[in-house]
Subunit: 199 residues, 2 copies
């Protein structure tokens, strides 16, 4: 029985209720960083994806238990042992991410370069420069679509076709590296939910 | 003459208008991180302090010029050469900081330990754990008061006397280290604006 009275929902956190799919999975992988538990993989079409979980979300509680200090194996084990329904997560919205709104110039550019998803240069007097976009940050989303593990060419296409105003979500590279460590790029690419968000 | 038409004020940024004091100073030191310019020192009672600038703020423009990619010397030089009045900064509110609201338990504790301002441990089932406070982060503010360079004992006193609900503002340690690098601790302690914010 879930101790509902211990569930908390402070500012900028939310509750997500998950069930398991036919394979008994919630479709979520986490990574422990600084004693916090962070979502590093949301599988396509999984309960976690349906629940709106995203790369970088911080999991605070599972079924009323604080998970601060738990390592990833312990958390994955909790999911494994959890019942099929009513797995309640308290989640803090991606604490390390920032979303910037950039405007294309007359040549269609936002003003930054990236390689393997990591921002490497900011053009002088560009929209990226005006908005304070930083290098050594990784692209997580373009117009709300996850681009973790997506080829640069495809990300560029998304940006090019993304209209005059493009929102990008970024995370400092050192945290990104932590989160994708030990995840084979092909796995990320194959499993990650890259679908467009419902608006 | 300031090119006002080039000043931008996108989401979560603000304009700050500074003048110089009798010593010809704005009371601000910056640090370049990832091609961005960040406030790392706001001198007590300085024009910068009056303008509401805070440790961690990102300076985007000075008098209409983007400062992306500028190093700290170049920025300090701009301030030095600027006229006495009407120095206009476009500033993004501390992009790397987070503020958490913690509640004291029955023994008066929030549930974390810190050493030299850096969070080192989170107590099981504490308010800090429930709220997802992370280790390897540095305390920047307690109830809105800057504690950069403040002795742990004094910070603890602030927390103890800070009422039942305490807000703390933190920044990842690796960024903190960048920002205070080359600043002698005594300088920080002596010059930094540690006054309470006006509410």
């Amino acid at each position: 029985k879930m101790p509902l009275e211990t569930l908390v929902c402070p500012y900028a956190t939310r509750l997500v209720i998950l069930c398991k799919d036919e394979q008994g999975k919630v479709g979520l992988k986490v990574k422990s960083i600084n004693k916090g538990v962070f979502v590093c993989l949301v599988a396509k079409n999984s309960p976690a994806a349906m629940g709106g979980l995203r790369f970088g979300d911080q999991v605070l509680q599972i079924n009323g238990d604080n998970v601060a200090g738990f390592n990833e194996n312990k958390v994955h084990d909790i999911f494994k042992k959890a019942p099929v329904n009513n797995i309640v997560l308290a989640v803090r919205d991606r604490p390390f991410e920032r979303t910037l709104t950039l405007h294309k110039d007359s040549t269609g550019h936002l003003g930054f370069q990236f390689k393997d998803g990591k921002i490497t240069a900011i053009a002088v007097n560009s929209s990226a420069a005006r908005n304070g976009l930083l290098i050594d940050h990784n692209l997580l989303e373009v117009n709300g679509q996850n681009v973790v593990g997506v080829k640069d060419k495809e990300t560029t296409k998304l940006i090019d076709e993304g209209g005059q105003i493009v929102t990008i979500t970024v995370i400092p590279n050192f945290l990104y590296q932590h989160m994708v460590k030990n995840m084979a790029n092909s796995l990320v690419k194959k499993m990650m939910d890259h679908s467009m968000p419902d608006i």
